[in-house]
Subunit: 217 residues, 2 copies
């Protein structure tokens, strides 16, 4: 159970704070908008109204007590998120995660001390685009630069066939590491397992190999 | 290769559009802000400046030509996103994906015709909270309500041990479906494989089982 602080509790910062509370951590929130503070006051350990770019107010917050601080300030003020990140670095906070509005903004945040930069709109926009492009693609998890793990709806043409008869690994270059059905998930499924068109296959392979299967009828 | 339209090209909508273009689809963007249109005009097939809540302007866009329309309008106007979603439904667009600002907003969007609702700030906030809570947890992919697939850094205490000696499935209730090392990804690793502390394990199990491993030293 660790202590976190979130500076800037707009919608993104608020959900980071609430998610951390749900996992049993103690969370302090800082925001200069009293409405944002009021919305969270009952749900977090401390909710403090302050302008985090005001150096004196910032020092009084004692944010150096925290192992990790998330800066959730967004489009309203790139300047504020940069200044707060720099102050946190100066304060010696071990891990600083800052929200970026653009690639350039992200570069600046890293330059002034962010250990990690997140861009929620960008990441979700790209995820949605990837999901739409491959209708069979239920979800995906990149393993490294060349290898992708993906959940793919069983192609219609594979219905009733066994994994061994399909020779998936040789013909398609992917491994089927798990199978999801209504009655649960089976890992390392038997080669003699007959697939059903409502199965979801968990496969590992190159992006192209996965894409080929995702676009089978 | 399919045709998509994005109504509301703020940061989220813009990345959906650009992601779809990158995957080889044709994309039309509609926004009433000329700056948003100018920023995308060179990168998409069509970028049209219009107020999508104006019924006459909306009809002229012929959005019924598209199999899927994404409504990226956000906090600036919940009202506009609701009205545009309703107009798209009326127009008979087969798949409508709308951005929600809150749970209530999402319920309203579904009621007026959205097939799917996305909330980028919420989803990324919750993902970040989950990732922070379990430092060994590199990434995760929920398979169903009880089952989680997760990438977990190898616990230090497992260094040098083999999968069979650790008896991972019996003692921890997870299957190790793949192993990631610098030299690549191995699926269905051998039981005699000796783990290294810089390995990343891809495991499948219940949320609790995965969490237990994620919190081993
Ligand atoms: N100097 C500051 N000190 C403290 N809080 C700040 C400061 N500047 C902005 N904030 C707060 O940061 C929060 C999020 O910032 P902003 O409104 O820029 O993001 P947003 O893009 O609208 O956020 P979201 O998409 O998360 O709702 C707001 O609640 C705002 O009050
Ligand atoms: N009636 C409308 N017709 C067309 N476009 C609209 C309309 N209302 C808003 N938009 C556009 O939708 C886009 C995104 O909306 P908004 O600014 O509400 O979202 P945001 O939360 O700031 O977005 P993001 O986080 O994606 O940057 C803006 O570019 C805006 O011009």
């Amino acid at each position: 159970q660790r202590e976190y602080a979130v500076v800037g509790a707009g919608r993104f910062g608020k959900f980071v704070a609430l998610g951390l509370v749900r996992q049993g951590h103690s969370v302090m929130v800082v925001d200069n908008d009293p409405m944002a503070i009021e919305a969270l006051a009952g749900d977090v350990d401390a909710a403090i109204r302050a302008d985090a770019t005001d150096e004196r107010a910032f020092r009084e917050l004692r944010l150096d007590r925290f192992g990790c601080v998330i800066v959730g300030i967004g489009a309203e003020s790139m300047q504020a998120s940069i200044l707060v990140t720099a102050l946190l670095k100066q304060q010696g906070v071990p891990r600083i995660i800052s929200r970026a509005i653009s690639t350039l903004h992200g570069r600046v945040l890293r330059a002034v001390g962010a250990d990690e930069v997140v861009n929620p709109e960008r990441e979700m926009g790209e995820r949605l685009a990837a999901r739409l492009s491959q209708p069979n693609l239920v979800d995906q998890l990149p393993l490294d630069d060349d290898t992708l793990l993906a959940e793919i709806g069983c192609p219609e043409v594979w219905h009733g066939k066994t994994l061994v008869s399909l020779d998936v690994r040789k013909r398609f270059g992917v491994s089927v590491v798990a199978l999801r059905r209504n009655d649960g998930v089976t890992t390392n499924p038997e080669p003699s397992e007959a697939l059903r068109s409502d199965d979801v296959l968990v496969v590992v392979g190159t992006k192209d190999a996965v894409r080929r299967i995702g676009s089978l009828a």
